[in-house]
Structure formats: C-alpha cells, structure tokens
C-alpha cells in the first residue's frame, strides 16, 4: 500500500512538469491571471506537421542519427565489452577508467580540437561528422554496459555450442546474442537516448546544416512561440519514452539478467 502510493507520488512528480507543456500546446494564448486558457486550438500541432516548421525534418534527422549512432556503438561495444568482461589482461582496470574519460571530461573542452579535425577532414556540418561526435559519449556507455553483461556471461555456453557443431558465427547468432539480448537492449537504449538528446555537439559540429530535433527546439525557443515549443518538446520526449517502454517489456520476462529488467 505504502509502496504503491510512493510509486504514484514519483510518477506524479515526474510527469507534473509536462502538464503545462500539454496545456501550452493546445492553448490559444495563456496569460498570467488565468488558471487555464480560455481558448483552445490545434493550430500548434498542425504547424508542427507542416513542412515550414521543419519539425518533421528535424525528427527524421534525429532518428536517423540516433539509430546510426546506436548501431555503430553496438558494433564497437560488443567486441570491446566482451574482451573487457571475459578476458584477463594487464592494464584492464586502467582501460576501464580510460573509457570513462569522454563521460567525465566536458565536451566543451574538446570541441575546438574536434571541430578543427573535422573541418580538415571535410566532415564539419555533415551527418557523418555529427554521428562521429555522438559516438564519443555513446561508445563508453555501451561498452561499460556490455562489459558488466559479459562479466556475468558463462562462456561455457559457447564452448558447449561449438562442441555440438556450431561455427563461431552460428555461436554468435544462436547462443551469445540471444543470451545477452537484454544487455544489448539496455545499452542500445542508453546510446539512443544520449544521441537523441545531444545538443551541444550537434550544434557545433552540425554547423547549422545538420538540423536535429534539439536544434529545432532551440531555434523555436528563440522565436518565442510557446505553443509550438510545447508541442515540439512533447514530440521530442515520445520516441525515448516509446523505446523505454518497449525495452522494459523486453526485459520483463528475462531470465539471464535476473532482476535487471525490473529497473
């Protein structure tokens, strides 16, 4: 009973800030003495889907960048996480610490140098350049998550599968990946959300030519159209929320990671 009311309280506190956003997105003006607006409108939402606001364009670009970033960080994080989680080698602890540096050091400190390099490579202001800088925070997160997953992974399963006739590729697709799937979901969730919400790196490296949803939101905030800002803000939360719900669904009936799914 107490537990239930506590959870309700947490949910209320977390979602309360969204209430004004929802009201704003449907309000035709909402000024000080009013508790709720007098007039309601769908104008902001129709503006949002119209091409002139560039919101849909930003949404699609954000989605593309976040998905590519997630895929690439998986590609790096899987072998790296396996190596650190399963194998023993000198300097392993130092490497783990080194992995944290992109998370510890503020991107502001490294941005100038990165931009310089990207301009020389001709990647400044391109989608690829933005993906590359998004990988800086996502690869460490992905690797660390998968390291802890592989640290609890019994490689005996792989030995067993090979003795039954599975090639290394078959072991990967039929045994290892299914067994660590929950870990992959968690890592992918992290990477996707980090990339999705990234503003600073995109702002500098994208140089205004790569227009993601946070860019759209930033431009609109300067424009002062509160209703549209609210609608875009709500839109920007939806993919992350959807991903989170799907992930927790996938993690719910999971036996490998134990209680990991009940987070």
């Amino acid at each position: 009973m107490l537990r239930k009311s506590f959870i309700t309280l947490v949910i209320v506190v977390l979602f309360l800030p969204f209430l004004p956003l929802v009201i704003w997105s449907f309000a035709q003006g909402w000024f000080f003495p009013q508790l709720i607006p007098d007039q309601w409108t769908l104008q902001h939402w129709s503006q949002l889907v119209s091409p002139t606001s560039r919101v849909i364009e930003g949404l699609l670009q954000s989605l593309a960048i976040a998905l590519i970033t997630t895929m690439l960080s998986l590609l790096v994080g899987l072998p790296a996480g396996r190596a650190i989680g399963v194998m023993d080698f000198p300097g392993k602890e130092a490497l783990k610490l080194f992995l944290l540096t992109p998370i510890i050091v503020s991107p502001l400190a490294t941005l100038m140098g990165i931009q310089f390099v990207l301009i020389r490579l001709g990647l400044n202001g391109t989608l690829l350049g933005v993906v590359l800088v998004h990988l800086m925070p996502t690869i460490p997160y992905m690797t660390l998550v998968l390291t802890s997953v592989f640290a609890n992974f019994d490689t005996g399963y792989e030995t067993q599968a090979r003795s039954l006739g599975a090639s290394p590729l078959q072991v990967l697709s039929q045994v290892t990946l299914p067994l660590i799937a929950p870990g992959i979901v968690v890592g992918a969730l992290f990477a996707f959300l980090i990339s999705w919400n990234e503003f600073l790196l995109t702002f500098f490296v994208g140089a205004g030519r790569v227009f993601t949803l946070p860019m759209v939101l930033f431009t609109l905030l300067q424009g002062g159209n509160n209703g549209l800002v609210a609608a875009v803000a709500i839109t920007s939360v939806i993919p992350g929320l959807l991903f989170l719900l799907l992930a927790s669904k996938a993690l719910e009936n999971d036996t490998v990671l134990g209680g990991f799914g009940n987070v």
């Binding site: 019994d154 005996g156 399963y157 030995t159 003795s163 039954l164 006739g165 090639s167 067994l179």
Partner: protein
C-alpha cells in the same frame, strides 16, 4: 614421465594424446602427456584441482591450443581442426542448457546445426529424451528443471549427434548423493547402448572409480598412473597416489626379499624387493580378530580409537611400538577402546614404494 602401455599394439587407440604440453605464464599446466583411450572405453582423468586435467579436456575439445604434442582421434590429427568439426561432445558440470531454448530445442540443437528438418529433429529429440527418462519434458524451459534433470538433458543433447568421443567434466559433482547414483547408472547404461567412447574428468576419486573402466591419475601436469580402479587401489604407484585414493596407512620398512622388517616386526609380502621401502596397506584390507591365531602377519594390537560411520567401523590400532594403523571393519564387529585384539595383514595386501626413484617392475604389466 609415465606412459600408459596397457594395450596391445595391434589395437589402434581411438583417442591418442602424444606428448601434449601446455604452458601458461608462470605455470606448466600439462607436461608431455601421453594417453591412449580405446574405442568404447570409459576412462576417467582424475586428479586434484589445478593438476591440468581441465586444460587437457579443453585441448581435446579444441578450446585451448596445445603448445606441442598431438591429439589423434580415430586416426585423424585434431590439432588444427576447429572444435565444431572434431565430433567431440561435451557435458559440462553445470549442465549449461541454453536458457532461451526449450528442453526439446536444446536436445535438437546439434541436429538443427546439421540441417536436419524440423519434424525429424523433433521426433529424434523426443526419442532421446525418452532414453534419459524425461519423456514429456520437451516443451519445458531449462529453468523449470532440477539439477539432475538438467544434467540428463545435457547428456541427451550431446548423445543425439552420435559423437566419436564424449567428454564429461565432473558430471556428478553438482548433484546430491542419491541423485548421483541414479545419474551414474544412467550414464553407464547409455554408454553401453551407444558404445560411445567416454572421457570423464573429475577430482573426485569415488566418481572416477564407479564411472570408469580405467583411471588416469594426474598430478601437477603429469600422469602418475594409468590403471584399472582396482589396480590403483591395490598397487598405487607412490605415496601421493595412495593418499589421493584414500590410503591412510604408511610406514617405513627394510625389505629382504619377501620378508619385510618394520622396527621389531617381521612381515611377509607377496612382493619381492630389497632395500628400504615405504609400506602401505588399505585400511579395509586389515582383518581384526578378538582371539589369537598362529598365522603369519597376525600381530597383537590395542584398539585406541573406534569410530562408527554407518557402513564401517573405523578402528585405530596400536601395533607393537610406534606403529599405528587404521583398520576399517564391518560395523557388526564391535570393539572397546583399550581392547587387545589381533590384526591380520594379508601378504597380498601389503604393498610398497621403493625409496629410489626408479619405477618398480610391477608397474608395467
């Protein structure tokens, strides 16, 4: 280095390990190991933990590459063959059923990899499950099985692909006592049906004795003795082997042919030797009588401890001066502490290790 030479040369060994060596940084895990396993044989590779038996198993399975030496199975050198093409199936201690698959899918795993159609592999998996007495378990998840059931599924999963060699890594040690016996019977019965060659790796001498036809005893990376369980019990190669197999009675003596002198005692043995020796006798072999007999090797003794274990009565006997021996007799025989008794040490049961390092002749049949 001990070489197993127990089989006539005309018989090609099924599995043949030749001078197998594996070093890890700082330690030699396996050193110049020679071992022959015949087709259809059950051999136990026995030794304390860290003796190199697991490394040997991993080299045979192909998970670890030997530094030197060759592994031959059925006439084919396996060193460069990847694990999946060796036709060697593993049953590991923890069972390790794939948790994302059902019991049936686990058993059929090897068949699926071999491109067997779904209908056929389901049928075969069900038949295989019946053989391990788990009929009707095909649709369950591994998490719903007990330890013994999981182990049986693991066995079925390995046997369904008809491997040339079945490697079992401590197959019974995760199970409790009464389950062990059941599992052991099942393994031996399935082995008899399929005639698969089996190599059982274990640190438990009881498991090795009941599971195998021959035991290869391994210490510190080297084989010390390869023999039948009975032979290892009766004629251990040295004191380490004897102690590992549960030997508790050791004393020094001077051998003059078949007549051995230990302190003031004169004992007679079936074995001929000259020089100082270390004598051993298994505690079960000593017979204890309450009345004196005029027989050789029958010595007056005092019971100084008496422990009842349920299946045995373990007596500690003080014989003459300074010689203390353990005698394990049937629990129906009862003795008081302090009682004077007669201990008979059968000449055939008195075994010895020479103090020299030269292997004694009895070793090679």
């Amino acid at each position: 280095m001990y070489k197993s030479t127990t089989h006539p040369q005309s018989l090609m060994p099924h599995l043949h390990l030749q001078e197998l060596t594996k070093q890890f940084p700082g330690v030699t895990a396996v050193q110049s190991l020679w071992l022959e396993v015949q087709a259809g044989e059950i051999l136990a590779l026995l030794g304390p933990s860290g003796c190199g038996k697991s490394t040997t198993l991993q080299m045979i399975a192909g998970v670890v590459q030997p530094d030197s030496g060759t592994i031959t199975l059925d006439g084919q050198i396996l060193n460069r063959v990847p694990p999946e093409r060796r036709d060697i199936a593993l049953v590991l201690q923890r069972g390790l059923l794939f948790p994302h698959l059902t019991v049936g899918e686990n058993v059929a795993f090897g068949l699926k990899l071999r491109g067997v159609s779904r209908a056929e592999r389901e049928e075969k998996a069900i038949a295989m499950l019946r053989q391990v007495q788990l009929e009707g378990f095909a649709d369950r998840k591994p998490s719903e099985l007990s330890g013994g059931q999981a182990q049986r599924v693991a066995l079925a999963r390995s046997l369904i692909i008809h491997p040339k060699l079945l490697l079992l890594d401590e197959p019974l040690s995760a199970l409790d006592a009464n389950l062990r016996e059941e599992m052991q019977d099942l393994i031996l019965r399935l082995q008899a049906q399929t005639e698969v060659t089996m190599l059982v790796v274990t640190h438990d001498q009881a498991e090795a004795v009941v599971m195998s036809q021959r035991i290869a005893l391994m210490f510190e990376g080297c084989l010390r003795q390869v023999d039948t369980p009975e032979q290892i019990y009766r004629q251990p190669y040295d004191e380490t082997v004897a102690r590992f197999m549960g030997g508790v009675n050791f004393f020094a003596a001077e051998a003059h042919g078949r007549q051995w002198r230990a302190n003031d005692l004169t004992l007679f043995s079936e074995y001929d030797h000259y020089g100082s020796v270390q004598v051993t006798i298994r505690p079960e072999q000593i017979q204890v009588f309450t009345e004196g007999r005029s027989q050789t090797n029958t010595l007056p003794a005092t019971v100084i401890a008496n422990r009842f274990t349920g299946t045995q009565r373990r007596l500690t006997l003080a014989i003459a001066s300074e010689l203390t021996l353990q005698a394990w007799v049937t629990p129906t025989q009862d003795f008081r502490v302090g009682q004077l008794v007669w201990a008979y040490l059968p000449p055939s049961a008195l075994w010895y290790f020479p103090h020299s390092t030269v292997p004694h002749p009895v070793q090679v049949p």
